[in-house]
Amino acid sequence: MLTSLVCLLSSRRARRTVAAAVCAPVLLGAGVAAGQVAGAWTEFQGGPSKTGVATDGPDPGYRRAWSTPFDPGGPGDRFGLSAPVIAEDVAVAVGPDAVIGVDLGSGEQTFSVDRAVGPSVPAAVAPLGDGAAVVYTEGWGEGPPPAPGSEVSPTASASPGTPADADVEGLVESGLTAFDLGSQERLWPPVPLDGVSRTGVTVDDGSAFVGVNGGTVISVDLADGSVDWRRELDAMLVTPITVIDATVLVGLQGDGDTQPVVVALEANTGEERWRHEPSARSSVVSAISADQGTAFAIFAGLSETSVVALDLADGTQRWSRRVNATFDVIAPPVVGAETVFVTDLIGHTRALDAGTGQQRWDFAQNVPVFRSVPVLVGAHLLVPTLEGELGAIDAETGELVWRLQADGAPIRSVAAAGDVLVAVRGAGRSGLEGFEHDPDAALVREASPTTLAPGRMVGAIAIAAIPLLVVVLLLGRMLIARMGPAFPGDDEQVSEDDEHVVDPWEAEDPTP
């Protein structure tokens, strides 16, 4: 344990991943099993199609099984862990300067591999012989953002937390790299990237796909780290890449002059198959998910926000559903049970028919959901929130069946791993937490606040309005009695016998 701690400390001081090679054998001896990745939650939102669905997982309610703290790092010590991925009995998460592994049974940290400081974006687990490889990006391109209050240039430092100690070069070279899950040894030299990557890694059919902020998409052969192809798309690319049916789906953000687009590339060659531009003026597109020949994404702009379904074959729009809400672009729609689930920033989840886009149900949790990505585990949609609430919604009925009470610390992402849910926490509970089914948890059947309850509403109106009107009218009687008419002169009424009373409405030309 002490050796592990020393390794961990040394790795935090290191600027590159040298320490990992030294520490790896020790950590390996601590009990990391080689990963078997089939059917596991091997990358962000489960797999390359990013549907966010785990057919197997614990039912609600849940209780905390373990908690593994992780101190935030990076500039200003404000960057935590990425969404976790699962390799059999290990949860792997990427921190700003290390990739860590945590045992799913005990929550103990089993390894930590240094990485060049960079955004905490998800790794991916790929099969490697009998074991598994962890593939991840590192580096911050021209440099990390300055810490709040810092006056240093954003192109400053490779040292997390101390931009002032900047390497004069200022560059933290970005790259794609991989290590063996069992030994934590590098598999091949880092593949250089031409800028910072925030897409995370998507693995499919022996290749890793990664995007660079500037719009470059790269396919890397996992066997030797060679670049299969590189495609320049010349637009901002910050959302995870989706791969399905030998098609790479990329969401490119728009700017003042251009629309956001979904671009489909041939997975083997990088050739463009099609691109889809929204009909309404938009500025951003969410991460994409895909299932059964259809890709799903959310286009948002000043004028409107829509969930769209695109034909994977040619990119034509199958349906579009307007949803007046704001969404987090890193969260792709969850797709499962012939339903598309989208959750907006105020925790309003809508379930849409995957075939038609018609709304099946909605549930308003009324808590912020930002950088927290819902997942479908079994028959329940789990919605983590910024305030630490975790809601479990019945995917069929749209009723809330259980909720973890908010504790103020965000739940970022959830990964399903057999009988355990692994959640990334932020703020005061920064780190990983494991949840397991709690047989004693009280389940509820709570309808959405957006479901009309006529009796309740009429009752509320009556209880509010009747006493209010009684008070107001009594007050009015008192005031009228005290104050009298507003213009007493008007009481001197004119009888109809008076001559020539002119109707003011019919005066032909009223004097101004």
Binding site: T451, V472, L479, A486, F487
Partner: protein, 321 residues
């Protein structure tokens, strides 16, 4: 054509328009006996425009003392809420605190509601329908308020008065949309802080210059353009305190919208009792404000300066030289 119906009317001026007696006419200052007497005693001063306090008391008396107004205001809010639900609105209910607001505060509510329901593009057209409905409601409320202030009975004539008020109410609300649009275009150009200031200024300015127009149309039957220009002149009467009143009204209307944690601020279609109480009270206060505006105008109607005479165009022959 002479008025042959049985309805009693106040004395008219020579030009056919009803005279607007000063607020203090016929009301002898009563000896002060307590808080209420102090509050309700006539204002002594150089202008006939009642003080804000006196106007508030009169406005409250008009609304609370007229069951049609008080019950009608509550019923209108409930109906608007049900209509919004029917159109697919899912909250927050707290937005309805300004449902009966004066333009452009109420117009701002219409804009928010229509974009919530139909998005920005669809909402742009939907807002016209919302504004038309608001104009009808406002015309009816103003007509009732003027009748009550004139101590006239409510009846068929009130509806006719409301119909004749409708163009002015519609114009005021459309002008409200224009002001809000202009502010939203100018705001971003001047930065976030100034942008907010511009938005506030647009709301205050709108209430300040537009609010008298429907009252003028209702009471004096003037043409639309005349009612609008007269509204501006009435607002600008020196020492009237109209700008202060408009600022207080707008700040209060916005403050209640942005108070964090207030009831009804979440998504939901079954508002709680406390949310209903808040929304209903707020909307009754909007009608009180409408009554205040009407009372203030009627109090000074005779003193509002006439429009400057139009300059005659120079003879063409002369301009041609």
């Amino acid at each position: 054509m002479t008025n042959k119906n049985k309805r009693s009317k106040p004395r008219d001026r020579d030009d056919g328009h009803r005279s607007a007696p000063p607020a203090s006419r016929g009301a002898e200052p009563a000896p002060r006996r307590g808080l209420l007497d102090s509050l309700f005693s006539p204002r002594v001063g150089s202008t006939s425009m009642p003080s804000i306090r006196t106007s508030a008391a009169r406005g409250l008396a008009v609304v609370a003392g007229t069951p049609v107004l008080a019950v009608g205001a509550v019923a209108l809010v409930v109906l608007e809420w049900l209509a919004a639900l029917a159109l697919g609105y899912e909250g927050p209910f707290a937005l309805f605190v300004n449902a009966l607001g004066l333009a452009p505060v109420g117009t701002s509510f219409d804009a928010t509601l229509s974009t919530s329901l139909f998005g920005l593009q669809g909402g742009f057209f939907a807002i016209l329908g919302f504004v038309a409905f608001r104009a009808m409601v406002q015309a009816l409320l103003v007509a009732v308020i003027v009748e009550v202030l004139r101590s006239a009975p409510l009846g068929r004539w009130t509806l006719i008065r409301a119909l004749r008020t409708l163009p002015a109410a519609l114009a005021v609300n459309i002008a409200g949309i224009g002001l809000l649009t202009l502010a939203s275009l100018l705001g971003p150009l001047l930065g976030p802080a100034f942008g907010l200031l511009i938005q506030m200024a647009a709301l205050v300015g709108g209430v300040y210059v537009l609010s008298f127009a429907p009252v003028i149309a209702a009471d004096e039957g003037r043409r639309l353009s005349d009612a609008m220009s007269r509204s501006v002149r009435a607002a600008r009467m020196p020492g009237s305190g109209n700008l202060t009143l408009a600022a207080i009204y707008v700040v209060a209307s916005i403050a209640i919208l942005v108070v964090p944690g207030k009831p009804g601020s979440d998504l939901g279609v079954n508002p709680t009792v406390s949310a209903w109480v808040m929304v209903l009270v707020a909307n009754l206060l909007h009608v009180v404000m409408q009554a205040m505006v009407a009372f203030r105008y009627l109090s000074v109607a005779d003193e509002v300066p006439d429009a400057a005479p139009r300059r005659q165009a120079a003879p063409r022959a002369r301009s041609r030289g």
